[in-house]
Amino acid sequence: MTGTSLRTYLLTRLALVVPMVWILLTLVFLLLRVAPGNPIEAALGGHVPPSVVKPIEHRLGFDKPLLTQYGDYLWNIVRGNFGTTITDNRPLSQIIKQNGAATLELTFFAMLIAIVVGVLIGLVAGRYRDTPVDIGGRLFGIVVYATPPFFLGLMAQLVFGVWLGWLPTSDQASPLTQALLQTHTNIYFVDAIWDGNWGALWDIVKHLILPAMTLGLITAGVFLRLTRINVIRTLRDDYIEAARARGIVERRVVFVHAFKNALVPVITVVGLNLAILLGGAVLTEETFNWPGIGHELVLYLQNRDYTAVQGIMIVFALVVVGVSVIVDFINAFVDPRIRY
């Protein structure tokens, strides 16, 4: 310890968020605004008379100078106003609330599956390094990584949905459940438990299994690799050697001394993986027609709705930065060496 307190560390970390968010927001703005072509014409399907385009342009402030637009853009975000879509006049806050909840439900369970599967296989593979178990585990990791979520999802739909007929292949819940379920949080899973509506919960779980497994298994590859490497690295550490020298049973050395420390960096990667997970979520949602934020993004991309795309990108940027801060905080609590 160099004397830096936890509070100083946390404050420094928070201060670093500002430039990062600002850069991401600026990049989103530049990417979507500097591109050639008129976004409003694109949204309306091209070749529209100026009398139609001009009022919309004025309403969205697209007729102002670029720098003013940039200022307005940042100011609106600071005030929590992420804009309204061009094509269907939907405020972004509504998209975040409704579709964001669906994405949260999917990514949460996917992450859970990824961590359980990845860490377990990684631990075993690392412990039995270079044995057939390890090679099998690593091959599993590589193949899982090499499989795009939409392909795994398609195959899962074919096998479990069409051929076996066990599970539904699209949507977040059946229409009946969607109509009858009371919304408290917009997260169906939580809402069903809230009301003690077990029939609805069962329906929701059935809809959740295939998408969450698809996204989870694909993300598991990263956890597997990382856990395996960490176990190998930790098992070579001096303190493990020391534990062995003290005559502690090998099993205890591995499970108590090594695994615990090998898992610390995995926490960090949960955060880093969010970027991969969010990318995968867009594809998974699209494959399973899951009404999440990624599904909306693809829809608005197809409709060439610039403000919707911009708003959703802002949301993603804030989520990514927010999670990275949270992960750093957790790490600082868990591992005092990090508080530089």
């Binding site: 990062m20 069409v162 693809v298």
Partner: protein
């Protein structure tokens, strides 16, 4: 194992130094053993298979990638695999096998262009930023880290979207640009961080003390030490880029259907077929993605496992004794 300390390399004539560097870099691959070796070579075999497939596509492929009739009659729609169409046909009556074979061309072409572009942008930026440091370095690191933290699929999607909507339109170059933008930060980070550690090495100091200009120091002393990190990452990156291209294709931002066959696009078309139990339109292009990405990943991982001990040995090379064989970990950590 004969070891040539890096400090001696500058004294040998120019071409010879390069040869030695090359020999030293490939040596661990030739001498690798066991699992790493098996993984590496099976990866090479798969990759070579696909490269051959791409090169020989016009010869091997039974039909063209958008051909829906032959000898004056149209192929059956959604025909299951048969002798005439080994992988079946799509809803447009196109032969799936031909699309898979021609798809190899598209994937490899786009990924090669994208990799070349991200290397040409990322590596020099990393070299300059890492070597000179200062405000430029801080600025670049801030930007690159911000982009790096963002889901790269989303970056690629937005860029593909913007380019496709603008006058430039979709196509191979648009897809390649989108992929490039997503990967430049990775190369920048890897190269820059390595340059920072190499910059303080005695031989670099010595070169500077002798009055070499920054250009010369970077080109002759820093570059070759840093660039060795790149092949494993570039190979793993190629694997990733194929997934990214397929994902763009799946979302409709890849290659135009008339331009060439693309596996991700084919899988996206197959999603609607799956509801009626039609599996062949999605299975084969999907398997092609998995197989090619697995092959490239195996090569990358193999390179990683074998190359890294070299880097280790180099860093500790000033000592007289042979260092213990280093642990096999990735250089880039968690990707």
């Amino acid at each position: 194992m004969t070891y040539v300390p890096p400090a001696r390399a500058p004294r040998t004539p120019h071409g010879r130094a390069r040869l030695i560097a090359l020999g030293r870099a490939t040596k661990p691959i030739r001498e690798a053993s066991g699992v790493a070796r098996a993984m590496f070579w099976s990866g090479v075999a798969i990759t070579v298979f696909f490269i051959l497939l791409a090169l020989l596509a016009p010869v091997i492929s039974p039909y063209n990638f958008n051909q829906y009739k032959a000898d004056g009659h149209r192929f059956a729609q959604l025909a299951p695999p048969s002798a005439a169409h080994v992988f079946g046909t799509t809803v447009q009556s196109v032969d799936v096998l031909s699309r898979v074979i021609y798809g190899t061309q598209t994937e490899l072409e786009v990924v090669a262009i994208a990799l070349a572009m991200s290397l040409t942008v990322g590596v020099p930026l990393g070299l300059i930023s890492g070597y000179f440091g200062g405000i430029l370095d801080r600025f670049l690191v801030l930007i690159m880290d911000a982009i790096f933290a963002f889901p790269y699929l989303l970056i690629a999607i937005v860029i593909a979207f913007v380019l496709a909507t603008s006058s430039i339109g979709g196509g191979i170059l648009t897809a390649a640009f989108a992929i490039t933008a997503a990967y430049v930060p990775l190369y920048f980070r890897v190269v820059r961080n390595h340059v920072i550690s190499v910059r303080e090495e005695p031989y670099v100091d010595a070169a500077r003390a002798l009055g070499a200009r920054p250009r010369t120091v970077i080109r002759k002393y820093v570059f070759f030490n840093v660039v060795q990190n790149v092949p494993p990452i570039a190979t793993l990156n190629a694997a990733d880029a194929i997934l990214l291209l397929a994902s763009l294709g799946f979302l409709g931002y890849g290659i135009q259907p008339s331009q060439g066959a693309e596996w991700g696009y084919d899988v996206s078309r197959a999603v609607s077929d799956a509801a009626s139990g039609i599996w062949w339109t999605g299975l084969f292009p999907g398997l092609a993605i998995v197989l090619l990405v697995t092959g490239l990943t195996l090569v990358g991982e193999g390179l990683n496992e074998t190359m890294n001990p070299v880097l280790r040995r180099r860093r500790f090379g000033r000592f007289e004794f042979e260092p213990v064989a280093g642990p096999v970990e990735e250089a880039e950590g968690a990707e």
